[in-house]
Symmetry: C2
Subunit: 385 residues, 2 copies
């Protein structure tokens, strides 16, 4: 009878109606009916990406989308610049290396933000970078990089700006076109509040040009194949897609359009602020700082002497509240509260009250209800509903 | 994007898997397959009723079950005794009057409990009562009558003991056989955490005897027809049942058996106590007292000068948290928090934190987080998970 609460930064909670849409009869993926659904989803994605560029859809995870970006844009020997401040920055580096690029990495402590001026300096030092890879919202820490400032810097340089916004899209403002982002990668299982199964990649004209010249082997994740299928009289995907996820996503995007981007981002900012205020009220340390843009994930440092894995296990197995732990070198050191997608104020209250109780149960005497009260104050002040 | 929380005392939250079971293919209600499901449900109900008596199932609401009890047992002119301490006590009276009984009503203030000794006195005053009608958990207030004591008193008298346990069954201990309850009535949409649509009536031997003599007209809700269909080589219901609800209920009863009655009642007692402690910590008045058996519903008096309807409307329409208001003469004067069925500690935390915020928003400065903390303390002390 344990009620379960999935409060992780991906997968995220999916509204029941969205789940049920994916359980409807399978539509044939070469039919007119599917084509209409697919176009609707493509248009919905452009709305969230705030772009007029192509948005390609792949039957893949976010990592698949990231690999698509690298495989389609980078040829062996190409110079690329990676700014890495977490687990997914490292993934850009790994992918670029695997595809034979000559990689320069600006590496920052996990939890820090990439200082845009460092990119200006690096780009000033050599002019043959074909692309700059950067993370939007680092799922591993919750740090959010300033893409507006980074975009303004990269714009003055021939390199493409390629962004991993898997956890950012729909939770943190992203103005793909206005900020000069050539390629942005995301997925269905985060703020778009759909089941996992689809990756999205927006592609600017300059990126298309670069893709035309790239020589790395790529088939399933090919931009070209995907674009060609999109230009079919019945627009579709080149290979069999997870149709149920497309059906779910169509409904989720409808909900997002109804809410509208302004309210969507405001809701996420309030959820992030409430989570941070709650942690601070409990005397807990925010691992990745405290600023309004950190609206997708909040990382809280586990108090000294406590094993974060034990804390998360207690929360999940006993209380039914699933938060995320630290990845890689942060394993056991932080807990991460997701608040991207189908999250509302009471999800934060559940997460915070569960943390309060679990910490007490593990001998850390944080004051019960104090974090909840701090979150409540934010919700009332910001008129969260 | 408003997340909705149904925290009312009926309908109650239904686990997703239970809902989905009711969305499976329709089984023909005269088939062997249905018969097996139906028998399984009947056995499951006997387990929860703690009875070896027949448990009859009707395609009806709890009120339909109550009418079945009256229509099958009471003939015009019969003397009956009704103990009424709320809306559903009044319903017993209404039904008995409608079927032409000569009704004596012991009437108590809503929110009070029926003093068992009053029944002893009333039964001592005349010996021709054919039945005593009483409520177990009064949904309208949360008051719970002491059926063990009442049963011990009625046992020494020829009258049948007929109990409305629509909101009690599965939330508050009910020992049908041990306590000498001849007829107990319940429904699917309360602590049995299933969708609405089914009523259950347990019938003792003495009740069958009385039913054999009763002369009121009854067909759809007839004990006799229902028993006859149950004795068919393929046990079934006499008229077309809501098969989906039966399918859902079968799964819900499986969950209840897995949890076991002891844990089930302990969970409800903890939820009730946490709700009451939260209300007290906020300086709010408990409308129906403070005792461990009050484990199905908690009624909280709305502070002076505040309209309870406004409070509930704010909670529901803005916050997405649906609590119940007062019924009949209590309209606008109390809010009722349900905690029967598929409820867990975080449902109480949601209800309490929502109440805290809504009261503040309406100008009642209750301390944010203080009620939540009181509930948390109960959960930790009682090892709620």
């Amino acid at each position: 009878m344990l009620k379960r609460y999935l409060l992780t930064p991906g997968p995220t909670p999916v509204p029941e109606a969205v789940l049920l849409a994916g359980a409807e009869e399978v539509i044939h993926h070469r039919s007119q009916e599917y084509s209409e659904l697919f176009l609707e989803v493509t248009e919905g994605l452009k709305y969230v990406f705030q772009t007029k560029n192509d948005v390609l859809i792949f039957g893949a995870s976010g990592t698949g989308g990231m690999e698509a970006a690298v495989a389609n844009l980078v040829s062996p020997g190409d110079a690329v610049l990676v700014a890495s401040n977490g687990n997914f920055g490292e993934r850009w580096q790994q992918l670029c290396e695997m595809y034979g690029a000559e990689v320069t990495t600006l590496e920052y402590e996990w939890g820090e933000r990439v200082p845009p001026e460092d990119l200006r300096k690096a780009l000033g030092e050599r002019d043959d970078y074909v692309a700059v890879f950067v993370t939007h919202a680092e799922t591993s820490t919750g740090a959010v990089n300033d893409l507006e400032a980074i975009g303004a810097i990269v714009r003055g340089h021939p390199a493409l700006l390629v962004v991993d916004t898997v956890s950012g899209l729909g939770a943190v403002e992203l103005r793909t076109d206005e900020w000069g982002i050539d390629v942005a990668v995301s997925g269905s299982q985060k703020a778009l509040m759909s089941p996992p199964g689809l990756a999205f990649v927006s592609v600017s004209e300059a990126a298309w040009e670069r893709a035309g010249k790239a020589t790395s082997p790529v088939f399933y994740l090919s931009f070209e194949h995907t674009k060609k299928a999109l230009e079919n009289p019945r627009p579709q995907m080149p290979w069999t897609p997870p149709v149920g996820v497309v059906q779910s996503l169509a409904l989720a995007l409808e909900h997002i359009r109804e809410e509208g981007l302004e309210k969507l981002f405001k809701r996420h900012r309030i959820l992030g602020r409430a989570t941070r205020e709650a942690a601070k009220a409990l005397g807990l340390e925010l691992f990745a700082g405290d600023y309004p843009e950190a609206s997708a994930v909040t990382s809280i440092s586990v108090p000294q002497g406590l094993d974060g894995k034990k804390l998360n296990a207690l929360l999940k197995d006993k209380y039914g509240v699933q938060l995320a732990g630290g990845q890689g070198k942060l394993a056991g050191k932080i807990v991460r509260v997701g608040h991207l997608g189908y999250f509302g104020p009471f999800d934060i209250i559940i997460a915070v009250s569960a943390l309060e109780m679990a910490l007490n149960e593990l001998g850390q005497a944080v004051p019960l209800g104090k974090g909840v009260a701090a979150a409540q104050r934010v919700f009332l002040e910001e008129d969260a509903w």
